[in-house]
C-alpha cells in the first residue's frame, strides 16, 4: 500500500486529484490538507510515500513547507504557473503537473514515480531540489522555521546573525534563536548581499545590526550588534566588512 497526502488550498484542485486516484487502488489517500501547516502535521502523522503539493499557498508556500519536514518526502508538484519552480523541476528531473491536467497526464506521472520508486531513485531528489532552489521573489523576505510543533515565520530584517551548527544553522533574532537544517552557503546565496555578509566561516551577519567593530585580541576583531551580541570576524571577514562599510 502506498500512502499519499494532497496539499492544496483550493478544494476543487484537491477533489480532482482524489478523483484521478480512484483508478489507482494501490494508492491510499490518507489526508487532504488546506495549507502548509496542515501539510506538515499530516506528513509527520502519516509518513506518506508520496505527496501532491501545490506551490502557491497561504502563509507558507509548498517549498517552505518542505523545508520543515525531515526527511523530505517524495513529491509530485502541482502548479498553475510558476516559471521559477518549473525551471528547478526540470533541472532536477522532478515530475510536476501543470494545472489543469488530464487523467492521462496524471497516470503517466504516477507510473513514472512508481518506476523510480522500485529503482530507489526517488530518495534524495526533493532534498537536492530544496538545496539548489532558485529563490522566488516572494520568498526572499522571510525564513520559515519549526520549533517543536510551532512554525515560525521570520522576516529577514529581524535576523541579527546566523551561526553554523553542525548540519544546522542557528538563526538569531533579537533575543533567541531558531534551528534550521540548512547550510551556510545556502543562506549566503539567498540573502541579499547588500544586507547580509559572511564575516566568518561560521557566521553571517546583517550589516544594519552592527553598531561597532572592536579589536578583541591582538589581530582578531568582533562585531558588536544592537542586541549586545558579539560576532567574531575572520581576517578576510574583517577585510570584507571594511570594504562594504567603506572605511
Amino acid at each position: 500500500m502506498i500512502k499519499a497526502v494532497v496539499i492544496d488550498d483550493e478544494p476543487l484542485a484537491r477533489s480532482i486529484i482524489k478523483e484521478y486516484l480512484q483508478s489507482h487502488p494501490e494508492i491510499e489517500l490518507m489526508q487532504e490538507c488546506n495549507d502548509g501547516f496542515e501539510g506538515v502535521k499530516a506528513i509527520q502523522q502519516h509518513q506518506p510515500d508520496l505527496i501532491f503539493l501545490d506551490i502557491q499557498m497561504p502563509k507558507i508556500n509548498g517549498f517552505e513547507m518542505l523545508e520543515l519536514v525531515d526527511p523530505a518526502p517524495s513529491v509530485i508538484f502541482t502548479t498553475a504557473f510558476d516559471e521559477y519552480a518549473i525551471k528547478a523541476f526540470e533541472a532536477h528531473a522532478i515530475d510536476y503537473l501543470l494545472k489543469p491536467f488530464g487523467k492521462e497526464r496524471f497516470d503517466k506521472a504516477i507510473h513514472k514515480w512508481m518506476q523510480q520508486k522500485t529503482q530507489n531513485k526517488t530518495d534524495n531528489k526533493t532534498a537536492n531540489l530544496l538545496e539548489k532552489l532558485p529563490q522566488q521573489p516572494d520568498e526572499q523576505h522571510r525564513v520559515v522555521v519549526k520549533n517543536g510543533a510551532n512554525i515560525r515565520i521570520i522576516p529577514v530584517q529581524d535576523i541579527f546573525y546566523i551561526e553554523a551548527y553542525d548540519d544546522y544553522v542557528k538563526i538569531f533574532t533579537k533575543d533567541n534563536y531558531q534551528l534550521k537544517k540548512k547550510t551556510m552557503s545556502h543562506f549566503e546565496q539567498v540573502l541579499d548581499p547588500k544586507e547580509f555578509l559572511r564575516v566568518h566561516r561560521s557566521f553571517i551577519v546583517q550589516l544594519q545590526q552592527i553598531t561597532k567593530v572592536e579589536q578583541s585580541e591582538k589581530s582578531t576583531h568582533v562585531a558588536l550588534l544592537k542586541n549586545g551580541a558579539k560576532v567574531p570576524l575572520s581576517r578576510t571577514g574583517y577585510a570584507k566588512l571594511k570594504e562594504v562599510l567603506g572605511v
Binding site: E10, E19, N34, D35, P58, K59
Partner: protein, 345 residues
C-alpha cells in the same frame, strides 16, 4: 517670433523692409549732395539688387545647409555676393549717368562703402534666414517628439491594463475541470463567467471610460470565479450609492486593485475573508474604497503605493497628470486602497 510666418506675410515683410531701406538710402544720398532724382534711382537700383541677392541666398541655403565644419561657407558666400553686388550696382548706375561727371565721381568714391553696406545686408539676411530655419526645425522636432511620446503613452497604457494573471486563468480552468466530473451544471456556469470576464478584459480600449456600474459588473464576475475556486472562504460586500454608479472611470482601473486585494486577502490568508468595495460621489469626484484583510506576519505592507499598485498609480498619472489620486493605508489587519477619479473627462 514663435509663430512661423505664412508665405504672403513673409513677402510683405520682406518688401516693406526694402522700401524702408530705399527711403533711408535716398535721404542719406541726398544729404550727401546728390539730387533727389539721382538719390532715388541710386537707392532703388542698389536695394533691388540686394533684394535679389538676398533671395538667391535664401534659395541656395534651401538646397545647401552647411554643417558645423563648413560654417565658413556662409561667410565666403556673403563676401563674394557683396563684391558682385557692389560692382554691379556701380556698373549699372555708371551706364545710366555716364554723362554726369559729378555723379560718376561720387560713384567711384562710394564703391568701398557700397561694398560694406552690401556685405552687412547680405550677412544680415543670411543670419535671419538661418534663424528662421532653425526655428522651423525645432518646431518640427518638437512635434515629432510629441507624437512619439503619445504613441509610447498609448502603448504603456494598454500594457498596464492588459495583464491578465496567468495564475488566475489556469487555476480557474483547473476548477472547471474538477467540476465537470461531479457538478457539470456548475462547470458550465463557470465557463460562461470566465468567458464573460475574459471578453470584458479584452474588448475595452485604452482610453475608454465606463460607468462604475459596468466596472462593478466586471469585477463581480471575477469575484464569483474566485468564490468557486475557494469555496466558502471568500465573502464580498459591495456598497455603492446611486449617484456614484453613474459616474465614470477609465475601463478596468479597479481590476488590479481588486486583484491585489484578493492576492493578499485571500491567497495569503487562512480562513474566511471579506473583501469590501464601496463608492461614493464626492466633490465632483468618484471615490472608491477597496478593503481587504492581510496577514501582517507574512506580508509587510509598504506605505505609499506598495503592494504592487504601481501600475494603477502610473495609469492615473498618464491620464490625469496627478499623483495624489491613489492612496493606501492599514488599519489593524485591514489594508485599504482608496482611489479618486475626477469627473471632467
Amino acid at each position: 517670433m514663435s509663430t512661423s510666418f505664412s508665405y504672403p506675410k513673409m513677402i510683405l515683410t520682406y518688401g516693406a523692409w526694402w522700401i524702408i531701406w530705399i527711403v533711408i538710402q535716398t535721404w542719406v544720398l541726398h544729404s550727401l549732395g546728390l539730387e533727389w532724382s539721382e538719390a532715388c534711382v541710386d537707392a532703388t537700383i542698389s536695394n533691388v539688387l540686394l533684394t535679389l541677392s538676398g533671395y538667391t541666398t535664401e534659395i541656395t541655403s534651401r538646397y545647401y545647409n552647411p554643417d558645423k565644419q563648413n560654417r565658413w561657407f556662409r561667410f565666403v558666400w556673403a563676401l563674394a555676393l557683396a563684391i558682385i553686388c557692389a560692382l554691379a550696382i556701380n556698373w549699372i548706375l555708371a551706364q545710366i549717368y555716364f554723362d554726369n561727371q559729378h555723379y560718376i565721381a561720387f560713384l567711384e568714391k562710394s564703391l568701398p562703402l557700397r561694398f560694406v553696406y552690401a556685405f552687412l545686408m547680405i550677412s544680415f539676411m543670411g543670419v535671419i534666414s538661418w534663424l528662421m530655419r532653425q526655428m522651423k526645425e525645432e518646431q518640427e522636432s518638437k512635434a515629432r517628439k510629441n507624437d512619439a511620446e503619445n504613441l509610447l503613452r498609448e502603448a504603456e497604457l494598454s500594457n498596464l491594463r492588459q495583464q491578465i494573471q496567468p495564475h488566475f486563468l489556469f487555476n480557474s480552468l483547473n476548477s472547471i475541470s474538477a467540476l465537470v466530473g461531479t457538478r457539470p451544471e456548475e462547470a458550465r456556469k463557470m465557463i460562461y463567467q470566465l468567458s464573460d470576464f475574459l471578453r470584458g478584459t479584452l474588448k475595452k480600449d485604452e482610453q475608454q471610460v465606463v460607468p462604475l456600474s459596468e466596472e462593478l459588473q466586471h469585477l463581480q464576475l471575477y469575484l464569483e470565479i474566485e468564490k468557486v475556486r475557494f469555496g466558502h472562504r471568500l465573502l464580498t460586500d459591495i456598497n455603492c450609492d446611486d449617484e456614484s454608479l453613474k459616474m465614470k472611470l477609465p475601463a478596468l482601473l479597479l481590476q488590479p486593485i481588486v486583484e491585489n486585494a484578493i492576492k493578499f486577502g485571500l491567497y495569503d490568508t487562512i480562513g474566511e475573508v471579506t473583501i469590501k468595495i464601496s463608492a461614493k460621489a464626492e466633490d465632483n469626484m468618484l471615490s472608491v474604497q477597496i478593503e481587504n484583510p492581510y496577514d501582517s506576519e507574512t506580508s509587510k505592507p509598504k506605505h505609499g503605493t506598495g503592494f504592487g499598485l504601481n501600475s494603477v498609480q502610473r495609469r492615473l498619472y498618464l491620464l490625469y497628470a496627478r499623483n495624489d489620486l491613489l492612496a493606501t493605508k492599514t488599519q489593524q489587519n485591514i489594508f485599504i486602497t482608496s482611489v479618486k477619479i475626477p469627473q471632467s473627462l
